[in-house]
Symmetry: C2
Subunit: 188 residues, 2 copies
Amino acid sequence: MEDRQRTRRPGGRSARVNAAVHQAVTDLVGERGYGSFTVGDVADRAGVADSSIYRRWGNLETLLTDVALTRLNARSPMPDTGSLAGDLRTYAAAVAREITGPDGLAVLRLTMALTSSGQQGLQARDDFLGERRRQLQSMLDRAQERGENPPDALAVLDHIMAPMYIRVLFGADPLTPDYINSLVDRLL
Amino acid sequence: MEDRQRTRRPGGRSARVNAAVHQAVTDLVGERGYGSFTVGDVADRAGVADSSIYRRWGNLETLLTDVALTRLNARSPMPDTGSLAGDLRTYAAAVAREITGPDGLAVLRLTMALTSSGQQGLQARDDFLGERRRQLQSMLDRAQERGENPPDALAVLDHIMAPMYIRVLFGADPLTPDYINSLVDRLL
């Protein structure tokens, strides 16, 4: 965000609108949860016109995933440590930190809300998860290029991400560093 | 339910209240989703007094999990095929059928709603999942008694249930029989 403000000075207003809208969405999700506010509510809170939001994002679902993706990319960026095991351990630890923090189930809540929001919701869900999957795939491709033998992205979802998400959601045993590393070791 | 009606004739009324309340909860969940109705709404719909519900279930959260558990036990009972691989394959296939059906994400929706419902919600969630875990443990114990070498219940959650749930929630690849069996084989 700050980079964008610096690099496109004439876009200062655009960047301010973007920041105000993202903050409004974050606040409304925290206060009311998904499914309980509209584009009009976001516009009011951000102090911008509805039309500015529709022009830039098209619909509420796309806006919600843009906010979630921005947050995820800032907090759990894909690592590049130089080894597959190092990358997966670093990534898994970052995800564990994120999902055990306040509102750690944000991604699951958003995904569940989008699956109940018709065709636009499903499209936004697929775009959102597709983008994260492409990032993960790039990490695995780098391992391949180094001559390592990476699993495919779905196996990472199945055996590293899924167990951690479900354990947090179900209130099962805590995500200790030993447990997280054992998920990675087992997959490799 | 029918068994209870037969075995305790004087309890006919009790069984009818139970059935009406369960049906009212199922309807309200379908129409409004979790978090959007009260014990009073259930009582109105079922044609019973609020006090009957409070006396029998104590609170809304406990009632919600009673309904979910009754449904799960009817649709995905723990199998007893005589072998660990057979039991796990049968169980995994039943869960896959359930979660890819209409309202297949009911357990995840309920669990997520309960995690946001304060202490009574967390207690109801833990009781609910604890009961299913005990059933699963009994299945694994039978394998142990036959001299097989079963995984622990948490490993079944991590590597069979969690990938299936997350794939359905994320709209990832379908749960084919080959895929489901590969999860079981990989764990064993």
